[in-house]
Symmetry: C2
Subunit: 190 residues, 2 copies
């Protein structure tokens, strides 16, 4: 919540988003203690927990869990990335880890809008697909995520009541929360 309050700029609705738009974030330093704490809680494998144990592994030294890099990327996006109205809510997407994240690495994220798709079924919303590249202090890309996010429309078309903005729509969501349209489910894309 504190982080939300720090955000600059205006909320972005689906109508404001265009293919090719780019957004940068601030940075985050990955400390060794953070790497080990995340691993102990979520990915307790030797190469994420202990430098000596990591030396003979394929990582050749302590490396952050890929899920830690993903989580820190999310933090950077929420704090200082594109401020999408209604929040950054991912539906599905692809993630690639290209390099290990090491203790002391300084991560930043750059995002680009790849696709903007109004929903044919729900006039108050749509999806935006963003590719977010996470780089370290040597400008090496350590992770690339391409995710489809929910996005709401500034004014729902075909709804004459001006008060029925997206905020209004979000205040009265459908009875069942379905994050994925049937037509867009990608369960085993590979």
């Amino acid at each position: 919540m504190t982080q939300q309050a720090k955000l600059n700029g205006e909320d972005l609705y689906l109508d404001d988003l265009q293919v090719g738009q780019r957004f940068a974030t601030g940075s985050h330093v990955m400390s060794e203690s953070e790497i080990k704490a995340f691993a102990a809680q979520f990915d307790p494998q030797p190469f994420h927990l202990d430098d000596a144990a990591a030396k003979p592994s394929i990582f050749r030294g302590l490396a952050a869990s890929g899920w830690h890099t993903a989580a820190v990327t999310m933090r950077l996006l929420v704090e200082s990335g594109p401020r999408i109205a209604g929040g950054l809510i991912g539906v599905h997407g692809h993630i690639t880890w290209l390099q290990p994240t090491r203790p002391g690495d300084v991560l930043t994220v750059e995002s680009e809008v790849l696709e903007v798709t109004p929903s044919s079924a729900k006039p108050d919303r749509g999806h935006v697909t963003m590719r977010s590249s996470t780089r370290n202090q040597r400008d090496e890309v350590v992770q690339v995520m391409s995710f489809k996010l929910l996005a709401t429309r500034r004014h729902a078309p075909g709804i004459p009541d001006g008060s029925k903005t997206i905020d209004g729509a979000l205040r009265s969501p459908p009875a069942a929360v379905a994050l994925v349209d049937d037509a867009t489910t990608h369960r085993s894309q590979e």
Copy 2:
């Protein structure tokens, strides 16, 4: 490390893995405090932090960050999923969130081997693609991940020295850690 020691069964090499093999995990209860703690650290959006703030959101109540569900899924896989020799090391993959994870949800993961691919360039290793479905206590699938993982071979073919097993290979990795073969990089799959 402690968790590793708890694992049952033998290490699985690429040679041991076959399309259609299935693996189940133990379970994890998502507490409200865990959900809020993860969100505060990695995904500080109102609907992951505060029940009252979450009510008017599309989630209609407190929901775990999708990255939290992913991280807990990883924990379950490391603790009690398929014990792949050398560790569970993801290269790239696809993730879909189908339902929110709620406080009190009991998560379990079932994985299925989709593909087993020896490397043409590196005779000591290959990849295995696994689909891991995370379910709640109502047997609803909340998340599906399909990821390509590194896998090592029990005995590297064409290497007469019997000591040059995969473990040996992992002890002398290439000078540069490249987690992704150029040919298999999927940076913007959507």
